[in-house]
Every structure is written in C-alpha cells, then in structure tokens.
C-alpha cells in the first residue's frame, strides 16, 4: 500500500481492498462483543441483531473475493502486491468464520437465558472473550500499521486463551455435577466458550497471513497446542454412588 505504482488506480484498488477488510473486521469484532454481551445480559433482541449482522459479513467476503479476482486478472500483480491481494482473500475468509462463530453464540442466548443463571457462570466466559477480542484487535491493528514485530506476541496470547478455555471447561463441568439443572445452560456455555477459543485460532491465522504479507516469509511453524480439555474426565464422587 505504501508503494507508489505508476498507475494510481492500482493503489486505489489495493487501498479499497484493505478498507473493506477494515469494515469486515469492525463488524466481526462488534458481533463477538455483542453476542457475549447478549448472552451475559440475557438480551434476546441484541442476539437477534447479531444474527442479522452476519449477512453483512457473508456479503462482504464474497465482494472482496470477486474484487480480488478482478484485480489479479487485470493487473497481473507480483510479489508484495500479489501477497497483499491473496492475503486479503484469506483474511476475509477468517473474519467471515469469526462472524459465524459470533452468530452461533447469539443463537444460544435464548436457550441459556430461559432460566436465570447465576452470574458466576458467565464470569469466566467474559474474561475469555476479552482475551480473544484483544487478540483480534491487536492482529487487525498490526495489519493496519504493517508492524510485524507485534505479531509474535499475538500468538503467545493464543496460548493464554487455550489455557483459559481448559480451565473454564473444568469449571462448567463442576457446575453440572453439582446440580443437574445446570446441565442445559452449561452445555451451551461450553459450546460458546469453544466458539470463542476458535475465534482466537482464527485471529492466529490472520496473524500468520499478515506476517506473510509484510515480510514475505512464513512464521516459524511450531505452535504448541495447549487446549487440554480433551483430557478432562469428570469423576463422580463415591459418596453419591449409593443414592
């Protein structure tokens, strides 16, 4: 984007593409934030709005894809320009998925809030969301300012999200064992937490794409996966066996 092409319109086209990503990013960030707010506050109307907003992201993703294809066909870009355009296609795909995950959370609002839930159920989810949104914001800001230095940090944060998710999984499981009436809400909340954890993964994908756009190299491949929730087993206390 910083580079000046002989044809000014090419610069404008690239800028247009980047701005569309900005618009999508803004919607995706907003959707996730509002979906969780609707869940915590039991706000069904807000949840409905989030579900409608997803249409915009689907539309924009298609638009960016078509526009990118036209640019490639017309300009035959190379190197940095090509990375820029292919990167935009990939980022828009990730953002669209983030929107879907947000929508999925919004869809569960009705089921979770049917019976009023104690606030402690939501506390962990709120801080997990905060982590994921911070990560998403940082990676999109890195894309805006073209700063590759901050991207490694974004990946570190993903580990934090995974660890937090594992802990949350365990906590929700405990609530279900305490009282079977919690099972409906907690099952939905586990899916919501998983969705947010996936949003973190998509943010990491975007980080990798942005790194590639800026530097032309791929990020070092090793990425420790610390989601340990697949190992968690709920042990039924022996005392309850006799009942």
């Amino acid at each position: 984007m910083q580079s000046q092409h002989i044809m000014r319109s090419f610069d404008e086209e690239l800028r247009f593409l980047a701005n569309q990503i900005g618009a999508m990013g803004g919607y995706a960030e907003r959707m996730v934030d509002e979906a969780v707010a609707a869940l915590v506050g039991g706000d069904v109307a807000l949840a409905r709005k989030v579900i409608e907003d997803d249409l915009y992201l689907d539309l924009k993703e298609r638009e960016i894809g078509e526009k990118a294809v036209v640019i490639i066909a017309k300009r035959q870009p190379m190197a940095a320009d090509l990375r820029e355009i292919v990167g935009a296609i990939r980022i828009s795909g990730d953002l669209e998925r983030i929107g879907d995950l947000g929508k999925n959370i919004a869809k569960r609002v009705v089921a979770v809030t049917e019976a009023r839930q104690p606030t402690r159920l939501f506390r962990g989810l709120s801080s997990l969301t905060e982590l994921a949104l911070t990560q998403l914001k940082e990676v999109l800001d890195a894309y805006a300012t073209r700063s590759a230095e901050k991207i490694g940090f974004v990946r570190d944060r993903d580990e934090e999200i995974d660890a937090m998710y594992t802990s949350l999984f365990r906590e929700l499981l405990t609530y279900m064992m305490e009282d079977p009436r919690n099972i409906t809400a907690c099952t939905h909340l586990i899916f919501c937490a998983k969705n947010i954890e996936r949003i973190g993964d998509h943010a990491t994908n975007i980080a990798e794409t942005v790194f590639h756009i800026i530097t032309g190299t791929t990020m070092p491949p090793e990425r420790p996966k610390v989601d340990q929730s697949h190992k968690i087993i709920a042990t039924v206390p022996a005392a309850q066996g006799g009942k």
Partner: protein, 420 residues
Amino acid sequence: MQEEQGAARRLLKAAGERVARFGPVLVAAAAALLLLDLYLGGTGLGAALAVLVLIVVAMLFPERQEKRGAEERIDGGARLIETLPATDLAAAVQDPLYIFDEAGGVVYANRAASAAFGPAVPGLSLQLKFRAPEMHDFIARAIEGVNGDLAIDYVERVPFERAYRVSATPIGEGTRLFVLLFKDQSEARRIDRMRADFIANASHELRTPLASIAGFIETLRGPARDDAKAREAFLQIMHDQTGRMARLIDDLLSLSRLEAKPYGRPGEKVDLRLLIGGVRDALAHLAKESGVTIELDIPDTPLEVAGHRDELVQVFENLLENACKYGSSGGRVVVSAGGGGPGEERTVTVTDFGPGIAEEHLPRITERFYRVDVETSRAQKGTGLGLAIVKHILTRHGARLSIRSKLGEGSSFTVHFPPP
C-alpha cells in the same frame, strides 16, 4: 518648551536612524545620480541638489514609517498565523487528532493520537485503524461532505474501555483534507459504569456474610439465648464477617476508583528498588505474623520505570501480601528484579515456596472474585479482588503479569514493564 525640544530631538534621532538604516541605498542612489549627471555633461551641482532632496525625503519618511512599525507588530501575529504550518498547530492540540485525505489515508497524526492509538505509519488507512461500523460510515460521510460538523461517540472496549466523542471537519476550502478530532469522554462513562458495577458486585458479594450474620443473630435470640459459650463463639464469627465486609468494600472502592480514573500514560519516573524496599518494610509485621522472611535479590543499579508511584506500591503490596499469606508454609519469599539495560523490559518477580497453584486455576486467578480455594481465602481474609486490582493497574501501565507455579514447589508472579 522642553517637551517640544524633546520631541524634536526624538524626531531627529529617528531621522538619523532612518538615514543610517537606508545608508547603503542612499549612497548608491547618490553615486548613480552623480555618475548620470557627469555623463550627461553636468557639473555635479544638479546631482548634489538631487542627493540633498533624496536625504531630506529619507529623513521625512521615518515618521510615517514609525507608525507603520506599530501596525506591523499587530498584524505580524495575524500574518504569522496565515503562514504557520498546520502541523505546528495540530501538534499543540492535547487531544488525539488525525489529518486525513479523501481516501481516508492518514497524512498527519499528532502526539496525543500516537499515544492513544499507537504510532501512525505513512499510508495508514483510517478505515483500517478504526474499524467500528459507525466510524466507517462517519468517515465516509465526512469525505462526501454530508455530515457538516456532526460528531459521534466511539468506544474502544479492549484492552481497557475508552470512550471518545469524535468529530470530522474539512480543512479550509478545496484542500480535500480533513481533521478527525477525539475528545476523551471515558471518565463520565466510567463513573456511570462504576456505579452499576459496584452495585452488582457489592450486592452479590456482601450478601453471603450478611446472611451468615443474620443467621447467627437469629440463633442468639432463640436456641442459644442462654448459652454463654455459644454466644461467645457466635459473636466472634460475626465479628470476623463484619471485618470481611469492611475489607470487601475497601477493595471494591479501590478497584472502582482505578477504573474511573482517566487514562494517561504515566509520566513519573519511579525507582522500583526504593519502592519495593518500602513495601517490604510496610509488610514486615505481616511477614512476621505469617512466619515468613522476605528476601530481596535486586541489583544495585537503579531500576526505573514510568508509572504512578501509589498505584505501583499497591501492586507490590498485593503481590507480597499474597506471597506471605498463601505461601507461608515455604518460610521465605524472594523478590528478584532484572533487565535494567536500555531497551530491555524490566521485570520484578515475587516468588514463594508454598503449596503452589494448580495449573487449571492459573489463567483465571486475576478474575474478580475467582478463588482457588474459598476456605483458605476466607481464612486469610482475602476478598478475591487483590490480583484483579494488580492486573488492572498493570494494564494501565502497559505492563503485564505472568504467573508460574508448580504444585508443592511454590509460585512466582512476574511483572513485566515495557522498556522506558
């Protein structure tokens, strides 16, 4: 008479100055006239006459010139303003300000903008930096010239909440440049939220001790009315519960007050060495009570960070207090520091050798009211807010907290400060 003389002298002096100032020009003019006269075959008398006229004119000139000098000083400011670079003016604005072109590309960002939203690189696109849908619409409308001088509210939620009133205005006529100005509204908004949060948290967390006190009062009135031993025990429990409520209120207020504070990069230089020494002395009593010795392992070089002294004291007080309370079985607590070099992050680590914290709790212990073990926390007079306060302060300082722990070996809490 004297006044007249004074005036005449002043005039003469001014005339002299004037002649002196125009000296080179006058000399050149006189020489030219003389040469012209001689060339035309004159005797030089005509030229001398002309030179005389020239000097008299130059001497009469000053009076008018003096007056104009005063005028010049007045419109000097006005004229300077016309030629003053826009960037100087923008730099003097204390609120974040961007100047952008009709594509939304940032042309200039002032220092407040870089401090609030990170450094602006050339070619940065506003639509990419401020992605909220309403901001997109707002910028687009400003570029089309539709919204005049309207303003919108813009809120950033992460990493901590900030609210702004944003206005976009075209600059001059036909420049196709616009100015985007952010007015910080966070404080008013935070105070609103503080009230709501405080009520929600306080009512939830105060209900438990209150319920227990009510229960004991009931028992004291009824079945335990004449049982002196039970009465004493119950009164002791009630006393503990009211103490807990008081501490809870203190912590809640402290956290709410922090959240209500306006955001500003801390400017004061704080030497962590001295600060930590002070905190250790303040907690000597608690350490003795818990049977813990606090060891400092800090290099002799100054360890300076930018921060608010009182807030940082609160951070290390909380960390050390936790280490003493929950790690007392280890018998000692070590505070170590590192990374004083230029461009390096500064770290301070508080390590205890107590029972440690299970892995699944680590990511969550900075959440409000999250307790690893409710019983221990209650016994140690914890409120569940200490680490939440620590985390909040560190976020405001651009610093972060990392926690390492192994069951049976102890825990270490490390504060990472960004390089100054």
